[in-house]
């Protein structure tokens, strides 16, 4: 990791530090000792194929999964030892946009965005209304306050979810597959929105995706996760220049070879074996 730090000389203090992180569902370990850091103000993209463990990694950063080992520090605070009040405070400084948007279907878009403000601040209703309109304007949804999520398109739902995640002016934003299920034009719009947010608010952004075009457009640095391990970390240019076989296979979209042995296939499914093929 020190070597990686040397690659960017003007490194700011880390917003997120992950050390030897292990996460397991029952007996099945998904992340096998992952370490990396995300610097303040940078956009870190976590790349990886389906089932690689990248969404589990993001959920663990958001506190939705318990690590079975290792350490996560967010702005210097160790999540393992954080008190209930500490968690509460930290979560109001973090926003997360889920793959499905996760907007509350029984509430309008405006009520969705207003919810954290109503619950965590003592702002009066008129101020909250103004803030909701501002947040929706930032994501290009002015005038959609009274729409229900079911009345919005896929791209608009993602934008509304971003507006809700931004409601408390977070320092860190986490995105799970922001472009998944969107057509290329709408996906490009979401990418543009992320770039705009980063430019305007200097937020630390972590994006989990497997969309290469999107990843190379928005990332300051990227991580490639494969079978629960990090196989490469670097800037988009470094990743493009990488000669690591697994990185090349992912970036060049080379299909996985047919499994010669039944056991090989089983091991891929269970994630038991994590060799870096060279």
């Amino acid at each position: 990791m020190n070597e990686q730090r040397k690659m960017v000389p003007d490194a700011k203090p880390e917003a997120i530090e992950v050390r030897n992180l292990r996460v397991a569902y029952g007996d099945r370990e998904i992340l096998h000792g992952v370490s990396f850091e995300v610097r303040t103000g940078e956009t870190m993209v976590i790349l990886g194929g389906s089932g690689s463990g990248k969404s589990t990694l993001l959920r663990t950063l958001a506190g939705l999964e318990q690590p079975s080992g290792g350490e996560i520090r967010i702005r210097g605070e160790d999540l393992q030892t954080l008190s209930r009040g500490g968690w509460h405070e930290l979560r109001t400084r973090m926003g997360i946009s889920f793959q499905s948007g996760a907007l509350f279907g029984s509430m309008t878009v405006g009520e969705n965005v207003a919810l954290p403000l109503r619950e965590h601040t003592k702002l009066d209703e008129s101020t909250i209304d103004i803030m909701v309109r501002l947040k929706l304007e930032q994501v290009g949804l002015r005038g959609y306050e009274d729409y229900f999520p079911a009345q919005l398109s896929g791209g608009m739902k993602k934008r509304a979810a971003v507006a809700r995640a931004m409601a408390m002016d977070p320092e860190i934003l986490l995105f799970d597959e922001p472009s998944a299920g969107l057509d290329p034009i709408i996906a490009a719009g979401v990418d543009e929105l992320l770039l705009k947010l980063k430019e305007a608010f200097k937020i630390t952004i972590v994006v989990v995706t497997h969309e290469l075009a999107s990843a190379f457009l928005i990332a300051d640095r990227m991580i490639l996760v494969d079978k629960g391990c990090i196989v490469a970390v670097g800037t988009p240019a470094e990743m493009k220049a990488s000669t690591q076989p697994r990185v090349r296979q992912f970036l060049d979209r080379v299909p996985e070879q047919e499994m010669a042995q039944e056991m090989d296939y089983l091991q891929i499914l269970t994630g038991d074996v994590v060799p870096l093929r060279r």
Partner: protein
């Protein structure tokens, strides 16, 4: 050995399930009272919305069912009472059966079908759509936000619905009494009032509150336990209904025994 192990595993699972329900009930009560002491507003708006769904919208079907059950009880009781020449006791038989047992039980069964299943489906869908995760990441307690309004609505609505079901059951019995047992509406109501002690009504209401707690907790627990995928929502809903009916009957038995031995012992 295999049978012993199966019984042991089932017992452990059952106890774990009950433990989960108790923990959820404790968490809900703590969240509800915690809000009061922290001077934060209780979610009354959402509780009223839930109360409308639980109570007001259930009234037409509950009225019909309770009315029919009252009539059925009167008819069944009349078989034997007529043989004994005691048809005038049909009003007492209906009144006591309805207020102590069938009013609360029929209300609970109806609420399980309408509301317990809806709780499980609502929370299960929210779980599948990551909405519950979204609440947690916004530092909002899903129990306080989702379960407390349902709990308040059920605590208020179950006794109200039960009183209504008792009334409609008595009216069903009255229809038989007036048409076939020589009562007028006035004398039937009078006979009903004479037969009932306050304890009969209170017994039924205490049961109804306990049924409300069981239905809310089982529905919400099944919703929270929903796995990934939309078909899991269907499974949770079915489990919520089956488990709620079983636990409601069990709670009914326990409370009936408590009231019985509390009086005779």
């Amino acid at each position: 050995m295999g049978l012993t192990r199966t019984i042991g595993a089932a017992t452990v699972d059952g106890l774990a399930y009950l433990g989960g329900l108790t923990r959820l009930a404790g968490g809900t009560t703590r969240a509800m009272f915690g809000e009061l002491f922290r001077e934060r507003k209780l979610p009354f708006g959402r509780a009223i919305h839930q109360g409308m769904a639980v109570g007001v919208k259930a009234l037409p079907i509950l009225s019909l069912i309770s009315f029919f059950v009252g009539m059925i009880l009167a008819l069944q009781a009349a078989y034997e009472l007529r043989r004994l020449g005691a048809l005038q006791f049909v009003a007492s038989a209906v009144a006591i059966s309805v207020t102590r047992e069938l009013g609360p039980l029929m209300t609970a069964i109806l609420v399980i079908g309408r509301t317990g299943s809806a709780f499980a489906a609502e929370l299960g869908t929210m779980k599948v759509n990551e909405e519950i995760d979204a609440l947690e990441t916004m530092a909002l307690d899903p129990v306080r936000f989702l379960v407390v309004p349902k709990f308040i609505a059920m605590l208020v609505m179950m006794p109200c619905l039960t009183i209504w079901a008792d009334t409609m059951g008595v009216m069903g019995g009255a229809l038989f009494g007036v048409t076939n047992a020589g009562f007028t509406l006035g004398t039937y109501i009078h006979a009903t009032m004479d037969a009932l002690a306050l304890r009969d009504i209170v017994t039924g209401l205490v049961k109804s509150v306990m049924f409300g707690v069981v239905i809310t907790m089982v529905g919400c627990q099944e919703g929270f336990r929903t796995g990934l995928g939309s078909e899991e929502v269907g499974k949770s809903t079915t489990s919520a209904v089956v488990m709620s009916i079983f636990l409601t009957i069990l709670v009914d038995l326990v409370f009936t025994m408590l009231f019985y031995f509390g009086v005779t012992g």
